[in-house]
């Protein structure tokens, strides 16, 4: 895998998704991921980009933030995170949309906004 560094980064990013642009999970830009049981041995077996994502996910982070921090396109992040989730390395969190923005969630959001320091 070491020779990978020699290639153009951008070509590599799209190559490592194997040409896939559709992840298995539907990941929204705000979808949070986390790696509550970080395993350094598992990290060593990963491609550099997946490893970087896995490490960042030790703190709960959104897809958009992962893309911004690593300057990797959203589409690529989605595929890589989807693969990490498939091997149970990361957990994909539900969003408000998962619960169809039910009344409980909307009330909690409204509550939180009202409590913000003005």
């Amino acid at each position: 895998m070491e020779h990978i560094e020699m290639r153009s980064r951008r070509i590599r990013l799209y190559a490592l998704t194997g040409g896939r642009t559709r992840p298995r999970h539907h990941l929204l830009v705000e979808t949070l991921v986390s790696a509550p049981q970080y395993d350094p041995q598992l990290a060593k077996t990963m491609m550099p980009e997946s490893q970087a994502l896995y490490e960042l996910a030790r703190e709960t982070t959104s897809i958009a933030e992962l893309s911004a921090h690593l300057t990797i396109p959203l589409g690529v992040i989605r595929v890589l995170i989807s693969d990490l989730a498939a091997q149970d390395a990361v957990i994909i969190h539900p969003t408000g949309f998962t619960y169809q923005y039910d009344r409980i969630i909307l009330e909690r959001i409204l509550d939180g906004l009202k409590k913000l320091p003005a």
Binding site: H26, E30, L32, H93, F97, I104, E107, I109
Partner: protein
């Protein structure tokens, strides 16, 4: 059947929600996001691979990579609830990215600058016709005051009477928070059930 029980394994996980801040170029979207975000608005260049439409495609693939800049901010509302605010990219040719940003949003705030009212038409048209997420329209008071009555603005924008029209000062955290609260209340008042398409997955 009226109370939803969360899946056991998901109940302890932090949940995120999203509000889209839309409007024309220079209307104050980044200012709006920045005034309530707990982090400086993050500017990300979302590289997208798009079919070469109106641009020269790469000869071998027929595709080209386009860079679109967008801003977003984050507010931790509860220990287990994070709200993200996403500003839409100014260039209207990136409608596909608007679709991506709006998917899963609880709603949108469309910012309007009464000095450049025509710049808001594209965004309003998008949310009225091409999207099903709830939205409100907020006139950004650039000098802390309104240049026109809201009725006049509504007429100029040809907004239907049922669209919620409000005002805000994008620089003022209290004012932007109030606009967000108005949107959340509006979404709560929408009776139509709104959630993931069953074809996803």
């Amino acid at each position: 059947m009226d109370s939803r029980s969360y899946p056991l394994d998901a109940s302890s996980l932090t949940i995120s929600a999203k509000i889209v801040i839309a409007g024309g170029f220079g209307v104050g979207k980044t200012t709006f996001v920045g005034s309530v975000s707990e982090v400086k608005p993050i500017n990300t260049e979302a590289w997208m691979t798009v079919a070469g439409e109106g641009v020269d495609p790469a000869p071998d693939s027929g595709k080209t990579t386009t860079t679109v800049a967008m801003d977003f901010g984050r507010i931790t509302l509860q220990p287990d609830l994070v709200l993200y605010l996403f500003g839409t990219p100014g260039q209207s040719r990136f409608w596909f990215l608007w679709d991506d940003l709006c998917r899963g949003a609880l709603g949108a705030v469309i910012l309007v600058d009464t000095r450049q009212i025509q710049d808001s038409f594209a965004a309003i048209n998008y949310f009225e016709n091409d999207s099903d997420i709830p939205f409100i329209v907020a006139v950004n008071k650039f000098d802390g005051k309104l240049a026109y009555e809201l009725d006049e603005v509504r007429e100029a924008l040809t907004l239907s009477p049922d669209v919620l029209l409000t005002t805000c000062d994008a620089r003022d955290p209290g004012s932007t928070s109030k606009a967000l609260q108005e949107l959340v209340s509006y979404t709560m008042s929408c009776t139509v059930s709104y959630g993931p398409d069953v074809t996803w997955g």
